[in-house]
């Protein structure tokens, strides 16, 4: 064994090998611990969701849960159809994305391909501030400002509606989309851009035909993040879209999202372990699964269009 620690040269002074190895091991274990704790948290959350939902689904059939079109767990004759909550979530998400994706993408293309470095330095932090505003502020902005504004051209618009909540949510999401998309486009190597310019392409043609497709995997990651934000957003929809679980696909109506239901129902005090209490977890599980589906979908799309340069 001892020749293993033999010194090769008397002029090299190192800490004894045993101590070095020990130090490496300790650091490695610390890093592993940090990694495990974040995975453990995720598993813990999923575990609780599944555990509590399990007791819920022992009393309510999954089929009924997924197909019944009414959600009234707190009523005299409770109904447990999650569809209205899902529709509320999807409608607000679609409204938000139909604002955030085009505007965020255009902002990203502009900042990455057209803006001068100076303008970019000013504009980027300004955009990112949008993401830092507390969502409760956005909620009241939607409820007290955007809705009355929309009521001028649309006088029949109710005070709580998904349109206004979705639009404001879209504004909040723009910087998520634009910031990540811009990073992805700026990472496209200069020699690809120059190849396009050398063919006589304009700046816009280069941006749309070469840079955008080359950055598509990063850009779709940005879109996925935007979707996750929209699906999971709570305060804005709870304040501006209302708490009534109504099955409708019309954004100009009031309807609760999954998140809005959860935050609404937790305001009252529900007896621990009751069926009403467990609805929170069943709804939460649906929310997580929806986000998961979008993430997986995004992952495959990204892979499909992955560009190597």
């Amino acid at each position: 064994m001892s020749e293993k620690y033999l010194k090769l040269s008397p002029t090299i002074h190192l800490a004894p090998r045993i101590i070095r190895n020990l130090r490496e091991r300790i650091v490695e274990l610390l890093l592993l611990g940090a990694a495990i704790s974040s995975i453990a948290t995720t598993i813990g959350i999923l575990g609780i969701l599944i555990y509590e939902s399990f007791s819920f689904f022992q009393q309510v059939s999954i089929i009924k849960f997924l197909t019944d079109t009414e959600w009234s767990p707190l009523f005299e004759n409770p109904r447990y159809g999650v569809v209205p909550l899902v529709s509320g979530t999807l409608v607000t998400t679609v409204v938000a994305l139909s604002l955030a994706i085009p505007l965020g993408t255009i902002a990203a293309i502009y900042l990455s391909e057209f803006a001068s470095p100076k303008l970019r330095e000013i504009a980027k932090p300004c955009l990112e501030i949008l993401a830092g505003i507390p969502t409760v502020v956005y909620g009241y902005f939607a409820y007290l400002f955007v809705t009355p504004l929309l009521q001028i051209p649309l006088p029949d618009l109710p005070g709580s509606n998904m349109l206004s909540a979705g639009l404001v949510m879209g504004i909040m999401i723009i910087p998520y989309v634009s910031s990540i998309s811009e990073d992805a486009m700026r990472a496209v190597p200069v020699h690809l851009r120059e190849g396009s310019y050398a063919m006589g392409a304009t700046r816009l043609q280069t941006a749309l035909r070469v840079v955008f497709p080359a950055a598509i995997s990063g850009i779709s990651a940005a879109y996925i993040l935007g979707i996750s934000r929209a699906v999971g957003e709570t305060m804005i929809v709870a304040i501006a879209a209302g708490l009534q679980p109504i099955l409708t696909w019309n954004p100009m109506e009031e309807a609760a999202t999954i998140t809005a239901y959860i935050v609404g129902v937790t305001q009252g005090d529900l007896p621990h372990g009751s069926l009403e209490y467990q609805t929170i977890f069943a709804a939460g599980l649906v929310l997580v699964l929806m986000t998961l589906v979008f993430n997986i979908l995004g992952h495959f799309l990204t892979k499909r269009y992955r560009e190597v340069y």
Binding site: H191, L192, E194, G195, A198, M199, G200, Q205, P213, E307
Partner: protein
């Protein structure tokens, strides 16, 4: 598609007259005078950092893409000064193509890479594009290798094939001149040989200006050679003369490998 340009009465395709170039306030090219002969291969050689790439990129006004770059003097293409401020650089780039040091195919199919120049010119007629793409790939000696997988991503090609694809891309728009910046420096010897052969064939159709680090390459493929040193053209002559009987001491030292 690519044919001789008949109006070549003049023997010079391009004439550079007293060209100076500045990156910001740094003068990198000094009073360059150079005549690029029609349908010949003109090589630019010289030690690293002497300004070969900078000079090459003046010909298609690539420097216009970045702020702070400035030219004085003239480059005449068929007697018109393409450095004049009223000349649209995009129009210049449509007449003078470029092939880069590192193959840079776009993240598109082989077909779309070659069709790119036509698409940015607004060409959309499918049959015309098909025909041009095939002809350009044939002229770049790539057609037989890719004809069965035109819709594969261009990244799946080997480095040498990618570089020939970039040549096909440049040829597809029927340019009068093509600029090559060390087109084989990222390639193995076999791929290099095929690109060199291709360049020799292409000069029937286009005028070629090529930067190269390899003296053997310049000797093998070029008709004229310009030796550059510290931003100046020290000597410009027939390639044979430059390599066997140069006038200047510096040229002689360089071609004999004594520095650089």
């Amino acid at each position: 598609m690519v044919e001789n340009h008949p109006s070549q009465a003049s023997k010079f395709k391009c004439e550079v007259k007293n060209l100076n170039f500045y990156y910001g306030s740094v003068r990198v090219l000094k009073d360059i005078n150079l005549s690029v002969f029609s349908h010949q291969v003109t090589a630019l050689i010289g030690p690293s950092g002497c300004g070969k790439t900078t000079l090459l990129r003046c010909f298609n006004r690539m420097h216009d893409l970045y702020p702070g770059n400035r030219y004085t003097g003239e480059i005449e293409l068929d007697k018109i000064n393409i450095l004049a401020p009223w000349i649209d650089p995009i129009e210049v780039r449509m007449r003078i193509g470029m092939v880069f040091q590192k193959p840079n195919p776009f993240p598109k199919s082989i077909y779309e890479n070659v069709a790119y120049g036509l698409r940015v010119r607004g060409q959309s007629q499918r049959s015309a594009i098909d025909e041009t793409v095939e002809q350009a790939l044939r002229n770049a000696a790539l057609w037989d290798e890719v004809k069965d997988r035109l819709y594969d991503l261009a990244f799946n090609l080997s480095g040498g094939q990618q570089q020939r694809l970039c040549i096909a891309r440049a040829l597809a728009t029927n340019p009068e001149m093509i600029l090559f910046d060390e087109p084989t420096s990222a390639l193995d010897p076999i791929a290099t040989a095929s690109i060199e052969e291709l360049i020799t064939q292409l000069k029937e159709k286009v005028t070629i200006l090529i930067v190269t680090h390899s003296m053997q390459q310049a000797a093998r493929i070029s008709d004229r050679t310009a030796f550059m040193y510290l931003g100046e053209i020290i000597e410009f002559d027939r390639t044979q003369t430059i390599f066997s009987d140069p006038t200047h001491r510096k040229t002689q030292d360089y071609v004999n490998g004594r520095f650089g």
